[in-house]
Amino acid sequence: MTATQELTMVKGNEALGEAAIRAGCRYFFGYPITPQSELPAYMARRMPEVGGTYLQAESELAAINMVLGASAAGVRVMTSSSSPGFSLKQEGISYMVGSQLPAVIVNVMRGGPGLGNIQPSQGDYFQMVKGGGQGDYRLIALAPATVQELVDLTGLAFDLADKYRNPVGILGDGLLGQTMEPVAFPAMRPRPDYRDDGLTGAKGRAKRIFTSLHLDAEALEQLNHKLQAKFKLMEEEVRWEEVHCDDAELVLVAYGTTARICRAAVEAARKLGLRAGLLRPITVWPFPSEPLARLAEGGVSRFLAVEMSAGQMVEDVRLAVLGRGEVHFYGRYGGMVPTPREVLGQIQQLLGGASK
């Protein structure tokens, strides 16, 4: 990272906005929803300063389709929302995957289902990771745990979107969005040119079409073959972090805010002599199944998935472990955030350490 080493105290949502601009994003289409509202507000103020465009859409449906249009025109573009609004974007996301259009889509998750509340949650894992819209598709989904990582992964998100001509998701939660932390921003990248596949008018070349419609079944199967091959390539982008996993008897699996809580719990467990570790997916899709499988084969007999949900990521942990170890789950939801003490209690239950 070519960082300007100066540290600034920034709120997660605003840090994300600045990181997007520094990655060359000049188009933002959004709709107000808590707890991500600071991000569009930041973009509304900042975009004009850098010659960019901020537009408040009439709905999340409109916002994602403005993103679709801007991406078709060949620019770096982004939208953000929180859970209920993210649901409304699913149709557009599916169309963008089918039309092979890149963009960055942020979901600062809040409690659900329905209107739920505005507290932090991880209840949209299925929607982001398994595909919330129609058809067979995948999104690379990045799950930062700190504001600094949010900044770093935002730049990466734009690069991966362009590389694979596919939307990339950033999966945060209300806590991360609202947290203020010192961050180092990367240097400002120059505003990128229009993508070479963008719709710039059929001047001196054949016309270009972005569509996801293929009425002929064979043609649509061919497109799906192509997409599946691309998703296979995208699996190489898997990223994760391991903490104290080398000698661990129990490995916690958690992402985002929950991973920070689990890290504190694991450190506390170590002080008690309990051999707990943490595997933190940084990409929730592709999911770090191989490192989990390696740990299971290497003798880790117990895993504990911790989520701010009723158990979504835990399904991927089970698929990775494939019966080679016990998979346990601890979740808080509805906007409740687990405390390190609670998680430590779970570790102690599983490793037999006395509660202190």
Partner: protein, 252 residues
Amino acid sequence: MKQIIGVPESLSKVSSHYCPGCSHGVVHRLIAEVLDELGVRESTVGVASVGCSVLAYNYFETDFVQAPHGRAPAVATGVKRANPDLTVFTYQGDGDMAAIGTAEIIHAAARGEKFTAIMYNNTIYGMTGGQMSPTTLMGAVTATTPNGRGPEAGMPYRMAELLAQAPGAVYVARTHVADLGNIVKTKRAIKKAFELQLKGLGFTMVEVLGNCPTNWGISPEESNQYVRDELVPAFPLGELKDVTKEVAGVHA
């Protein structure tokens, strides 16, 4: 020798999927002629909608993007905002614009987005097999109003009038293509809409009343008669808004 007839450069030399007698092809040709005459084919991006005209991108020699159902105005907003040098138009039916896409079109007009929306209003869903649309006339029999549209199914409303009141709309017209004279008038309206877009004045829209012989279950000639006799009284023709004329009026 001067060429007086031919295929516009902006129109693809392919046969279309449209039914015999359908007027979509007429409207496509008028748009293509206008793009040729304004010299903007190479800087145009069309936005296709969902419905019979979903394949419009196969029939124009311009770049195209296909939008989700009803969202063409939002997609067009994104395209135009990303590259204001482009000439952008949507091509939508009454189901796409007046039902599922009502929010997107109204807000595009309200914001004065600088693209041209073409609405082909034939008062029915064609692609899905002839269901009632928001503009279906009272009493009309469709697949989903087997006994004729009654008040329990709502009443038709006028999209062009609705959009004309938006401050960001600078040109809104309603025409029909059921006879030669009105085909010429339709082209004039479409050309005016694109001209005002190119001047950067704001949102422009032309609602074209057209037929659907297949789903109305009548011959092409009878369907054009239906447009003239039934649709025109329900959806009055004319330029509902033209800010260039209003300005001229002030100075007159």
